[in-house]
Symmetry: C2
Subunit: 215 residues, 2 copies
Amino acid sequence: MSGDAQISRLKPGRRTDIRRENERAILDAAEKVFAEAGFGGATMQLIADMAGLPKANLHYYFATKEDLYRRVVQQIFEIWLDAASSFDDAPGPVEGIGAYVDAKMDISRTHPHGSKVWASEVMHGAPVIQDYLETTLRDWTEGRIGVIQRWIDEGKMRPVNPRHLLYLLWATTQHYADFGHQIQTLNAGRPLSDKQWKDAKASVKDMVLRGIGAI
Amino acid sequence: MSGDAQISRLKPGRRTDIRRENERAILDAAEKVFAEAGFGGATMQLIADMAGLPKANLHYYFATKEDLYRRVVQQIFEIWLDAASSFDDAPGPVEGIGAYVDAKMDISRTHPHGSKVWASEVMHGAPVIQDYLETTLRDWTEGRIGVIQRWIDEGKMRPVNPRHLLYLLWATTQHYADFGHQIQTLNAGRPLSDKQWKDAKASVKDMVLRGIGAI
DNA sequence: TCATTTCCTGACCGTATGGTCAAGGTGAAG
DNA sequence: CTTCACCTTGACCATACGGTCAGGAAATGA
């Protein structure tokens, strides 16, 4: 029956699905554990428990702890790169940088663990993604510096150092993920509400865009 | 002879000096190792080697790895609190926030390891300094928010959300320490020169002060 | 010189961790 | 039903780690 086919298609027992779902569960658990404990403090047992799988099963899908870690780091990097497209097809800094801040603030809220793992990785000297920094990130940065410089030349913003503007954007937006615990503590122990997040985004965008004379 | 007394005063063999010097050597080594490897990744053996002492000697001065770690975290926190005095006795945001940015940027250059240890600690949920966040840091923050609000009321700057301004200041200045490796990679692999640091400080200060309408 | 306190350190111990493996389970195709 | 590829997992191992301890060295004061 066609019904059978559909049901079997949704059953978790399907070969490909099993692989996909388990890898996803492991990666999600790993992202959280690596973020909360650091690479050294994370244990495969903890990740396994959080993913609801026996430890030996983790090594069936990911050969080593480092392999698993690498995948987690790559994940957040790709998410950030996607968000960066806001930058490109914008007529000026108000739209481009405004959208970039929005996108990065949203990611800080939806992917705080990934952001922390990335921060940890870079703080420890980028032992596993140094090549990414030297290739993809460097190229992306140079490209964006060019875009900002063009906006400056066109008189759409004040002549600030584009490099330090990018650092300020990264620092400010990621701070809300990486230092989320500190922010929560200073917010009476509660996570930021929807309204407070809206305020945070507006405040950052406002200060940045005024800081560069775009508004 | 009086000469003997002086020499013996300078000899490292003096009781108090021995304790002070060894504790200092251990704390310096620990700060570096904790920053580079994280709490979980750091080992007492590594710290001992870097301090030039046998591992057992570390446990003579610091009972446990956690005790040692706690001391390192407290150290950077006190340094930051000292720097924050720039804020208080300032007539307005240009002087106050300007000096604060200067001070924090200087610390990011001179104490990058401490900054990373603090960041790591907070990212992992502040397991050992949560009480500091809830007391000292919270009080300090509320006080500074009051100062900023007064400046706003006096028309010395635009009405921005003081809390998010503080976050922006922390994020931006500490970024140069915590993400120093990334910044160095994007700087052709070289550490920022004196001139580049000067430019960084000026750029940050300029964007921030303009962002809040103080200049 | 002697007694006392402080400092030093090699050797050792229990535990926890990353990783392995062999044996068994399970769904799909023929 | 049989086959086969893929998935699952308890038990196991070597290693590395934080921490201990006993015995000795060195400094200090009387």
